[in-house]
């Protein structure tokens, strides 16, 4: 669904953010994009949606180059930015003005999502709190029924019940023909929704792997003492050592995304190689 080939991009002349980034995303999946502050997550998403132009290389959506912003692409992508612009309108007025850009927009779904997310349908949108604005735009984005749904930090500003509803809504809208990309720092908000993990680091996608595959290759455990264990990475926490081990026994453990992310960002080669080895088998 998404193909990014040899992407080069930077905001300043001599400071390229991406120096030949490659990425393939397929439909029917929920991708979780992780990266440090300033790694370029939002910039990557903008390139994907045709909101920023690559200096070199191409971004394709269903085989079409997105940087020309053809209607066929724009009407089939919804991009929920982290910082929102909402107009001085009620949701109903907003839909009347905007929904026709999305041929598969479903009004009934929009109102249903608003009520599930507890957003007042008669209130002027830009007079609402940040969380309410965000939820209104989430409802709009889901109701747009686009093939690609990109969300940049969607759970920022959402209260606890809204996060629950958000997870339920995302679970309900994934179809075989849809691709959902969510960038987040709040990994615990989404960890049973994401099926494929993307990690952006030093201008490259260094991990693009299904959670299932990660679980097959490495184990996450806690120990008081790690002496003699085949440890790939460890962190000392309040209750002992949190450890990443090579999964040699075919056991199962829940992926600790924070621990894995730290290991990758620090540049732990043994974790990276253990994961990569799997990809070529």
């Amino acid at each position: 669904m998404i193909q990014i080939k040899d992407l080069q991009f930077g905001y300043q002349k001599n400071k390229p953010l991406f120096k030949g980034l490659h990425l393939n995303l397929t439909k029917g999946h929920i991708y979780g994009l992780l990266g440090k502050n300033g790694a370029g997550k939002s910039t990557l998403l903008k390139n994907m949606a045709g909101l920023a132009y690559p200096q070199h290389g191409k971004c394709y959506f269903k085989g079409i180059n997105v940087s020309g912003r053809p209607v066929a692409v724009l009407e089939d992508i919804y991009f929920l930015a982290e910082e929102l612009f909402v107009p001085n309108l009620t949701p109903a007025q907003f839909v009347a003005n905007t929904a026709y850009f999305y041929p598969r927009f479903n009004k009934a779904d929009f109102y249903r999502y608003l009520s599930i997310l507890d957003v007042d349908i008669d209130a002027i949108m830009d007079k609402q709190s940040f969380g309410q604005q965000k939820k209104a735009m989430i409802a709009f984005g889901l109701a747009a029924n686009t093939g690609l749904l990109i969300m940049d930090e969607p759970t920022n500003g959402l209260d606890i019940p809204s996060k629950v509803q958000f997870r339920k809504l995302i679970a309900s809208v994934l179809t075989e023909d849809r691709c959902i990309v969510i960038s987040t720092h709040q990994v615990r908000d989404l960890d049973s929704l994401i099926d494929t993990l993307l990690i952006l680091h030093n201008g490259e996608i260094i991990i693009n792997q299904s959670i299932d595959e990660v679980q097959e290759k490495i184990l996450f455990e806690s120990y008081h003492d790690t002496q003699g264990l085949p440890v790939l990475y460890e962190e000392t926490g309040p209750r002992g050592k949190n450890v990443i081990l090579k999964n040699e026994s075919g056991e199962y453990s829940k992926v600790d995304l924070e621990l894995l992310f730290n290991a990758i960002i620090i540049g732990n080669q043994s974790v990276l190689q253990t994961l990569k080895a799997s990809a070529h088998e």
């Binding site: 339920k168 994934l174 049973s192 199962y252």
Partner: protein, 128 residues
């Protein structure tokens, strides 16, 4: 649903479905929730639920009726028990036997303990 860290989520969901069948919440020949509905309920990726349902179909606990959805198999509860029995014998029993052996526990004492356990359960059931 709270997921434990030690079992794959798709197996935990399969266990949850099995539990509902064994408890009689979902009866044989009855339709079970769609992939989407269960994913929404449990706030998980629908692909995970698909995997759980595929697993339960391979165990013949649930059956796919084309165009109608997924149903509890006529002998669904028996299939679950058979599967759990097999898993118990393979995975827990060796450990259990090992402890009997190591701790020198007589199988006759065990028989008595088991009998009194059963009596207890029957008694509790009667009192309800």
């Amino acid at each position: 649903m709270e997921f434990k860290d030690k079992d794959a989520i798709y197996l935990q969901i399969a266990a949850y479905v099995s539990e509902n069948i064994l408890l009689g919440k979902w009866l044989p020949e009855e339709k079970i929730p769609s992939t989407r509905d269960l994913a929404v309920d449990l706030e998980v990726n629908p692909n995970t639920v698909i995997r759980s349902y595929e697993f339960l179909q391979s165990q013949e606990v649930i059956v796919n009726r084309r165009g109608l959805g997924l149903f509890v198999a006529t002998d669904g509860p028996e299939k679950i028990k058979a599967y759990r029995k097999e898993r118990f014998i393979q995975q827990q029993l060796p450990e259990f036997f090992r402890n009997l052996y190591l701790l020198d526990i007589d199988i006759k004492d065990l028989q008595e303990m088991y009998n009194s356990y059963i009596r207890n359960i029957d008694q509790t059931a009667k009192n309800k």
